[in-house]
Symmetry: C2
Subunit: 156 residues, 2 copies
DNA sequence: GAAACCTGGACATCTAATATCCGGGATGTG
DNA sequence: CACATCCCGGATATTAGATGTCCAGGTTTC
């Protein structure tokens, strides 16, 4: 089971955008981490579609956070890039077993499906309870000059 | 992000094995759910390697649970099939950023990595706290004759 | 108008999951 | 012992998804 790399990229980019404030071109973000610009751009576009980022075309344009860092949870970013589907997907194989209804959807009644879903909910709860502002605060506690260095590297 | 289908198959099979008690051939389990026998067999083999199942060759052989259902957690099954690696993998892109150490491993210090890892721990905790016996008890509560029907369909 | 920048789609590539097949070994039965 | 049953593990397709590239448009600033 593996999460797309875009999540890691997007989270780092969002933290940086939170510190810069002004729009940052996607190419500059890509250069900052030595990432493929065109591909990173796709992830940023997904953040825009999810309402997490704003995009500004033209010179002096780029991407910026659309909300306060405290109003963007890690879950928001994960869902924006990975979609809302659960990692465990019940395919209702009980319907193929003797006595089962092949047309029924067991995802809401199968005890296995419910257990897996419940565990995944715990994961989502943790992610939802943690905002970009929380993470940023942790970074600053460990490296107080991080915001300033990011601004120096990325600000126009 | 998606979990392999083998996890669902294996969990259903393990529940059945818990109810049957005697060894059940992989082909019979596959027929029970109309699954590809050769492929399901690979998942069962992984359960054997993980010490969750025993395999008995020869006539009257098959697979059976190697431990009490109460001693097999959902996490055991997930790890047996998906491996111990985390879904979120820190690739230390901070090392490529200005001021970063390209050779360093940031997975233990990067605040983003730590947050993602912490959320995943919550998921694993839930899975570890739930055993096959717990799930089986839920099934019986909802369909008291399930164990008997499974035995009738799968027992030798 | 030109340059900077985002948008969205089409396309190529690579990896992992899914699936099949076969030769081999172990075990119980007659 | 001979045979049927069944697991083991490697080699090999097939497919879907993730990764990555490219280009023909827009929009905005200067």
């Amino acid at each position: 089971m593996r999460m797309g790399q875009g999540v890691e990229w997007a989270l780092h980019c969002c933290l940086n955008l939170a510190w810069v404030g002004a729009p940052v071109p996607g190419a500059r973000l890509a250069g900052h981490y030595d990432l493929p610009a065109a591909y990173l751009n796709k992830q940023l576009q997904a953040l825009v579609r999810a309402g997490i980022c704003d995009s500004v075309p033209g010179p002096r344009g780029g991407f910026r956070l659309a909300r306060e860092p405290g109003a963007v949870s890690l879950l928001d970013v994960v869902v924006a890039l990975e979609g809302p589907e659960e990692a465990f997907r019940c395919t209702s194989i009980l319907g193929a077993a003797p006595g089962g209804d092949p047309a029924a959807d067991y995802s809401g009644s199968c005890a296995i499906s419910l257990s897996m879903r419940s565990a995944e909910l715990a994961w989502r709860r943790e992610l939802a309870a943690r905002s970009l502002a929380d993470v940023a605060a942790d970074v600053v506690r460990h490296a107080p000059d991080a915001p300033q260095r990011v601004r120096a590297a990325l600000a126009p």
